[in-house]
Symmetry: C2
């Protein structure tokens, strides 16, 4: 850590490997295909760590990301983002070279694919199992049939099955609620699978969020899981009760630049361009952008909840701390912070430094 | 616009030039040194546009940014971020080559600079005029004197004066409140200048925010302004009443990928990795991440406030729209969005495309 002089995203490779191993084992145990989401790390080098555990198929969130990982030797990729019909030429180029799957959720995209696709492509229909970000409600079989009819026009297209991102687990108030929301999503996908199995004997259903993949134990009828965040975890997952502090593989290290005892605040070099501005709500009802690590007796601990990152401007971060903690912050020293959402923090930082000092690069921005 | 296929940050150079011209003229009119903040655009190429209006001194928000612009021919730079004492070696290297100013606000940083500085350096004392992000309250002359004493130890250091970022203008509820908060900040700096003028005859005071620089007209006793955002402006400035829609030089162009009539929502390809997650509060009390542009009769207009970007995940954006507007969104077409905070949007996008299709690059991430 002696070379660190400014906000730095530190990555613990050992924890990452352990997180991958656990998830790969769990998938094997439940007879699930493990297709991890690479949008979390966006790094070819980190991608290689998954191969150690037999991973040969991945999920990405954009066509550009698929191009990047295809160029880095991955040839079985699902782009888990509803097809943007402006990118069909790029999809065509990728489909010519790798096993590619995409998602559709409306007739417009299905028709555009059917009209322009020139190479073998797998297509999942995106189902909204309750997250209400996007996708077709599982009850709307009319809409599903209409998409299937469109897809059927082009013999290069294989309908693979149904896919959901059960993002509703992120707003669960307890792990029990994660279990019940996940179970409900599983039931919906299973029912769809049953309904369409006769017509499509090879139909598969795929589920994707880190909370359920981490802690749930019912995957009856599910064929594939696509968690991404679990390789790093973060404060959001910790707050959901989905991981322990020891499972979190990332931390931001930031220098202290000022202290304001009159308002129990510490100013760090580390702002929105380092953390992103993802916030969760703290125990006091205020926005929180991160929590502060402390090393007590060689074990990693968090300072109590009323010590937290309370504000972020472009380069400044403000720590709200309790009066008794203020003395532990020294100008020029470093604070270690668990970010709220590791995917977005990694995205703005653009690279990692491992605990052994190695730089790991990420996909270029454009 | 025919080449656009994915979320794209469009920059109108003509508007930028006009915004620079207006601010440069205003500075000249009020006899203020114009030292624009380059953290907004982070681009050497855009930096050159300022030279057309006589700008030869700039502000940046990090040592790295100072290094980047110094390498691109700027030799009078103020790093408007309280000195991070871990970066003094870098500051020394820069100070050896250009006219460099930094900020201090505590004895620790002053002592570290005084102890290690080997080249000529200008130092401002950072004053908190009411924003309460960081800096010394203008009434704390004891703390100021203690810093001056530390700085005095090293003859390479020139105390330049007092500097504030009156960030309190951003939380103003009206333009009148911007006027009054600015006026109060001006009075505080003026009083400090008076107090220390005898001891430091060349003392200067510098003020920095875009809201006050754009609309205020009292700069009595102020020597320098350092606005940055004004080159682009954005929804935040528009909402503050600081710019008109025609002054905003940036927009995000994003493809529509899905529509959900049951909840009056449109899903776009464009998420937190494109917009950042800076939010402001909408008229309905909800978070808003952007507003939607519409071209009516060749004039740029915003759709009414209840049509807005209501959610952002990593790659998805959700537009909440009114029922009567829903028909105007078509899957595969583009929507144009004014981002909340152009500095952070530019930072995550990493580059610009001008209205004439030219790519403009930014400072590399590391």
């Amino acid at each position: 850590m002696t070379n660190i002089i400014r906000p730095t995203l530190i990555l613990d490779k050992e924890i990452c490997l352990n997180n991958i191993k656990k998830m790969a084992r769990k998938a094997a145990e439940y007879n699930l295909k493990f297709r991890p989401h690479f949008k979390t790390h966006q790094s070819a080098e980190i991608g290689e760590w998954f191969r150690l555990f037999g991973v040969d198929a991945i999920t990405v969130s954009s066509v550009q990301m698929a191009e990047y990982f295809a160029a880095n030797g991955w040839n079985d990729i699902t782009i888990a983002f509803s097809v943007n019909i402006r990118e069909i030429e790029n999809i065509n180029r990728l489909a010519a070279n790798i096993n590619l799957n995409v998602l559709v959720e409306n007739r417009e995209a299905a028709a555009a694919l059917a009209g322009k696709l020139m190479h073998k492509l797998g297509v999942y229909i995106k189902i909204d199992t309750g997250g209400h970000r996007t996708g077709i409600s599982s009850s709307k079989t009319g809409a599903i049939n209409s998409i299937l009819k469109q897809l059927n026009v082009n013999s290069k297209i294989t309908f693979k099955g149904f896919l959901t991102h059960a993002g509703q687990t992120y707003s669960a108030k307890s792990t029990n609620e994660i279990f019940s929301r996940h179970f409900d999503a599983v039931l919906q996908l299973k029912a769809l699978k049953q309904k369409y199995k006769k017509e499509f004997p090879n139909i598969e259903v795929s589920i994707g969020d880190t909370p359920s993949a981490s802690i749930c134990t019912i995957f009856d009828g599910i064929d594939e899981i696509r968690p991404g965040n679990f390789i790093f975890y973060d404060l959001m997952q910790y707050n959901l009760g989905v991981c322990s502090l020891d499972d979190i593989a990332v931390k931001m290290v930031c220098p202290v630049v000022a202290k304001h005892p009159s308002r129990n605040e510490v100013v760090i070099y580390g702002g929105a361009v380092h953390f992103s501005k993802e916030a969760i709500t703290n125990v006091n009802g205020k926005n929180i952008y991160g929590r502060i690590l402390t090393a007590q007796n060689h074990t990693k601990e968090l300072l109590p909840p009323l010590n937290y990152v309370s504000k972020l401007s472009q380069e400044h971060g403000t720590l709200k701390v309790t009066h008794n903690q203020l003395k532990n912050f020294t100008i020029g020293n470093f604070v270690e912070i668990i970010p709220v959402h590791s995917c977005l923090t990694a995205n703005v930082m653009g690279h990692y430094i491992t605990t052994t000092g190695k730089i790991i690069s990420m996909m270029p921005k454009y």
